[in-house]
Structure formats: structure tokens, C-alpha cells
Amino acid sequence: MTKVRISDDALARAGGADKLAAAFEAKGCEVQRTSSWGMQWLEPLVEIDGKGFGPATLTDVDAILDGTSDKAIGLIEEHPFIAGQTRFTFARAGKTRPLSLEDYEATGGWAGLKRARQIGSEAIVEEVKESGLRGRGGAGFPTGIKWDTVRKAEADQKYIVCNADEGDSGTFADRMVMEGDPFQLIEGMAIAGEAVGATRGYVYLRSEYPDAIRKMNAAIELCADIIAPFVCEVRVGAGAYVCGEETSLLNSLEGKRGEVRAKPPLPALEGFLGKPTVVNNVLSLAAVPHILTEGGAAAYKDVGFGRSRGTMPIQLAGNIKHGGLYEIGFGVTLGDLVNTIGGGTASGRPVKAVQVGGPLGAYIHPDQFDIVFDYETFTEADALIGHAGVTVFDDTADMLGMARFAMEFCAAESCGKCTPCRIGAVRGVEILDRIKAGGRKRDRLELMPQMHNTQKDQGRDAGDEIGLLTDLCETMKFGSLCALGGFTPYPVMSALKHWPEDFTRNPELVEKAMSEPAE
């Protein structure tokens, strides 16, 4: 009987994978539903004897079975998109059935946890430190150091919280881990529990991911005995981007408004319900089982660039020809990712801009494509790796529109705690609208004789408004408590800086305004 493998990842399913699987079954094939290889432009991807066919539709079924399909891509493992990767976290991607304990064990599953239990908490933390693993949720904080803080804290109860809120546009690696290799994440959490002395774990999972919720719940039930005495539970969010920020997340988990907490106290010392808590991103935790295997830490550390060690599951998204998940050691250039690996835009038009790091990340111009993936390099360039989403735009993109959206998004998602973010973002949208309109006339108040300081003979031109925007962005950057308000200026100002012609017909106004902020 022909064995056919088709992913049951949400993206493949949205592309019709379920119907396709049923069609192959109707033809008498044995269909296995596996995780996704991550070549999303080819989903739904059909695999027979290691060979791939995609994107497959119902009309391709016969041709695929009789070997005449023009959707053939050859051996999947040899496809340049797969062969060029270094897969640690996604080592099982495409190869195993997500909820099969048998597949998981057969591919080295639970080895890390077993070893962790043997070597004990201090040694686990040492190995995570040695691996050089830094938080994959955005801030890049060394995971081992965070764990050590929680390990050393005295408390009757400690918690492991997995941040699965993945709200950044252009990112889906957390989703793919949860849908494709849920046991690996649970194992990572159990190891974290072992390391710091926590017996309870929560996965805070966004409500926008129905498939991931279902699979994580099922996986936790299936492996409850294996991870015991560690207990794990899924908590579903309620649609708030800011709840990805760790202290907001903890408030939400406690059943409060997702308002950001001032730090200190660090969540590591006073986190969930005031107890010492590890909050880690899905990818950080999912990297741990591999690191904890014999020699895993050294193997992880050997890959990378500068102080960014190991691999990053990079997500190629937006207007890109070959979109999907690309796990590779730090040090790859952005140009390679977008043009060589990603194949340029999906529309075939020139690349205009790339946003890395989600809605809070800067828009990067193709002139800067030699920038390498490394936390320090990106910070120096006023850019953000964040959760490593790479969103490509072609030359039809309207960068004023994107800057406006950054402000609009911040206004919609602000937790409301601080003024620069709560009010500034709303004003930012208004200013951008006025820039688009080329400025505005003086209003009635300004025209009153008592208002000595306003010029009465002319309105405010786009340059004045750009000066105001620059000023506002400075205030948001330095006056906001968290990165939502504090980083929204990056996409706005980078758009303004690199594409002034999208903001005004007199780009020299931008240069002038940016060099001397408003009065």
C-alpha cells in the first residue's frame, strides 16, 4: 500500500490538507498526518517515499500517484530550503506525527529529561548557561541566568510559564512547535521545572491558535505520567497583544487586566501569584531538550555568531516567494534570507522593505541587506531580531501607511498604563494623517490675537508635522514602561527615514525635521 504523508499543521489544513488526505485514503493509500516541513509555499505538501509534491490540490491526486505530477519537487531532504538549514529545535519537523509518543521516543524524545533528572538542578542550569541559549521571545536574555535566579529563590511554590502568546505579525514558529512537536515543548518545561524546583507549569496560549490549543491539551494528557510529578496546563488568552509581555501575561494568568507591571520585582523572584517564576518563550523552552542531551550544550554553542549562540528558527513571511520556517545558526545575512533562501518577493516585484521582529521592529531598506542576524548587530542598527519574523514588502508598499498602522496598532493594543503610549499612539495616527494631507490650516484658536506665538499667515506644513512626529517618537521611546510604547517609534521613524518620498513631496523636509525636532 502506498504510504502518503501530509502535514496536519494549521497552515496546511487551511490550504486543504484534510480533504487531500481523505482523497488519498479513498484511493486506498495509507495516510500519515505529520508535522510540517516548513516549506509553506508548497503546502499542502504531499510526501511519498521521501519525495515531495506541492502545493497539491485535489486535482493533483491521480497524477501524483501515477508519477506524472508537475508538482514534483524531488527528495524533500535534498531540497535547498531544507538542506541549507541547521535544525535542532525543528529536527522532527516533517518527520513525526505530532501526537505520537512512539514517534517522539523513537527520535530521542525524553532523553533530555531523563538526563536532567540524573544530573540535578545545578548541573542543568550550568548546561543551559554553557549552551549560550538566549531568550527567543524578543529580549535575548540568557536563559541559564534567569533559571539560576529562580533556582536560588526560596519559596514553597515555583512556576514555569511558557509564553505562547506569539502576537507578532510575521511569526509562527511557536505555533509550529506546538502543533508539530508539542512533546518537545512539554519536555523543555519539565526540564525547567527540574532545574529550578518547580512542579507546576502553565502554557499561556493565544486564542488565535485553535489547532495549537487542541494539540497542546491532547499532548499534555498523553504524557502526564512521563513528566509527573511535574504538572502542565494550557491557559488560553483572550486577544490582547500586550499579554505577550511577561508581566502583563502573569497578570492575565492571575485573572487580572493584562496591565504591564513595573520591574522590579523581577518575575523570577515575584512572578505568578507572587512566587518565583520562569517565563520563557516557546522556542527557548523547546531548545532545551536537545541541549540537555549528552554533548548537546556544546553542539548548540558551536553554532552561531558573536554572543548569539545556537540556531534561530527564522520565519519568512509576507510578500516572499519561498515563505516558511528556516532554522539556521546566527550570522546569516538578511539579504541571503530574503533574496537567496526566500527567492525574493512572491509578486516578482522588487523588494522595497523588510520588517524584522514584528510590529515593534524597524523597517529595513534593501541597502542594509548585509546586516547579519545577531542580537548585538541588530541593536546597533536600531533594529530588532525579536522573535525572528521577517516580513517582506514589495515596491507597492506605502510606508506612510505602514507607519500609521504601527501607531494604530499600538493605540489598539496599549495596556493603558503609561501616557506616552496610551495617548501618544493616538496622536501619532493623527499626525500621520496630517502629514499625508500635507499639513493643515491654522485652527480657530491659533488665529486668535491672544495666541502670539503662532504664525497667522500660513498653515502648518508637512515639515512641521514631521517635526512633531519626531518629537512624539522620542517621548514614546524614553517615556514608556514597556516595549510596546517604547519600540513603536522604530517602525515609524525607520519608515520616515528610509522612504521620505512616501511621506511628503518634499523629502528634504524630513531630513530637516529629523535633525532639529519641533519647537
Binding site: 497552515l11 509562527f172 488568552g237 483572550a238 485573572g255 513571511a317 509576507g318 515563505g323 498602522f405
Partner: protein
Amino acid sequence: MSDKSEILGEIIARHHHREGPLLPILNDVQAELGCVDAESEALIAKGLNLSRADVHGVVSFYHDYKTEADARPVVQVCRAEACKARGVEAIIDNATRAAGERVKIETVYCLGLCSAGPAARTGDDLHIRLDAEGITKLVEDA
């Protein structure tokens, strides 16, 4: 006793023992009743020994909770950056036109399908690679 208070009582009992029970309760109330209205807020507050203001503060914070039930089918369209890069803004009018008063079009920010947008969600079903025709059909079939 109204039906509603019975349903709420059951939901509260289901989660009462959990650490931080409020969000799981609100999620279930929203799912089962289609909204979290003032009456539900009051009952939940009583059940958890919280003030009504506390519960209302939480309910009003999250986008997923609605104050009124809406019987119309809902199509959630992603309008975040990656879907914008793939042209969602050019087809959103097709969606609203097809929707008319019958279907509710909601904006969401990212469904994690960002290499294959424009993306949308109906119930627990996801949709990718939508074009003008695709989104019109999706709304019409909703």
C-alpha cells in the same frame, strides 16, 4: 432561576478551584453565551467573591469579550503587517460588500499564517491565500 445563572453557576464551579480562575471562566462564558454582559459580570463577581468593578475591568480589557451577543456569523480577517504585504487591504472592501448587514467582519492581528496571507478565520477554520474572489465566497458561505 434563569437558564443563564445555571449555566454561569456550572462554568464557575468548573474552574473555581484553579489558580487564577477568572480568564478560563470568561472564556467559557463568551464561548457558551456569545458575550459577557453586565448580568454575567455580576454573577461571576459574586461567585468569585470579587467586586463587579474588578470583573468589568477585566472583561473590558480583552478584545475577545463582547458585551452583547451578536447572532450574525463572524469572519475574522487578519490585517496585520504580513497580510498587508500580501494585499489584504486591496480585498477588504470585497469582504465588507459581501457581508452587508448579514455577516460581521472583524479585524484580527495575525493568525500565524503569515507567509500565505491574506488569512482569515471562521469559527475554528482557517483560510489562506485569499483573493477578491476567495474572500467574497468565504463571506457569502459564512
